[in-house]
């Protein structure tokens, strides 16, 4: 899942990647502009709906949903 402006960088709101994926694997699988953007500490990562405190510790298995979350802007 790509949220907010990261969806523009990814070219679509969702991407399907091959599992298993760690942080290096995720970055390698993303389009270059998006791979660079996810390094920005303001962009957060959630695995199956739970925010990761340390995104570099990502370990995604088959069927897991990774969400890339840029800074929010609500109400």
């Amino acid at each position: 899942m790509l949220l907010g402006k990261l969806a523009d960088l990814g070219g679509a709101p969702t991407l399907t990647l091959t599992a298993p994926l760690d942080w290096a694997g995720l970055r390698a699988a993303l389009p270059p502009a998006l791979a660079e953007a996810v390094d920005d500490p303001r962009n957060r990562v959630a695995l199956n709906g739970a925010l990761l405190a340390d995104k570099a510790a990502l370990q995604a298995a088959d069927g897991d949903e990774i969400a890339l979350l840029p800074p929010v802007s609500g109400g």
């Binding site: 899942m1 949220l3 907010g4 402006k5 523009d8 959630a46 199956n48 709906g49 739970a50 925010l51 969400a67 979350l69 840029p70 800074p71 929010v72 802007s73 609500g74 109400g75």
Partner: protein, 150 residues
């Protein structure tokens, strides 16, 4: 028992239809403060789209409501946020707090609005003549939020 009504609405809503029943449900409350935000009219903005991430957005609003109940002495809290495509002038958010004392009701609405504005899982973009533009919180929104960090 405190009444807590938290919703994400994908369709246009009329705040009065939510606030009326909320006020009725909190009879004997002292006071109720309500804020309704509308998509700000701007002749250059054709539409506004608010996206959210289901697994985080609604649980995040419930967690915000819990913090408001911890921080203020409330009898009830209504927190409704639009998602999806909106036109200028449509309501986008409605927060209403009922309390025995006005200070709690007003401050709870202020607290919830500041957090919804710049610390809830929403992403906003505007459609102008030259296409879509992502909107980020203003500097003032971050200052508003920082008021509660103690």
């Amino acid at each position: 028992m405190p009444m807590c009504d938290i919703r994400l609405l994908p369709e246009m809503f009329l705040p009065g239809t939510l606030i009326g029943p909320f006020t009725q449900a909190n009879k004997g409350m002292g006071g109720v403060c309500t804020f309704v935000g509308e998509v700000r009219p701007d002749s250059e903005v054709e539409a506004l789209e608010l996206s959210h991430y289901e697994p985080l957005t609604l649980p995040g609003m419930h967690a915000l409501a819990d913090r408001a109940f911890d921080r203020f002495t409330l009898m009830g809290l209504l927190m409704v946020h639009r998602v999806g495509m909106m036109r200028p002038g449509e309501p986008i958010v409605c927060v209403s707090a009922a309390a025995l004392h006005r200070r709690d009701a007003i401050d709870a609405v202020d607290f919830c609005m500041d957090h919804l504005k710049s610390a809830a899982w929403f992403w906003k973009r505007e459609k102008r003549a030259d296409g879509w533009h992502w909107i980020e919180p203003r500097e003032g929104d971050h200052r508003d939020l920082a008021r509660w960090q103690n």
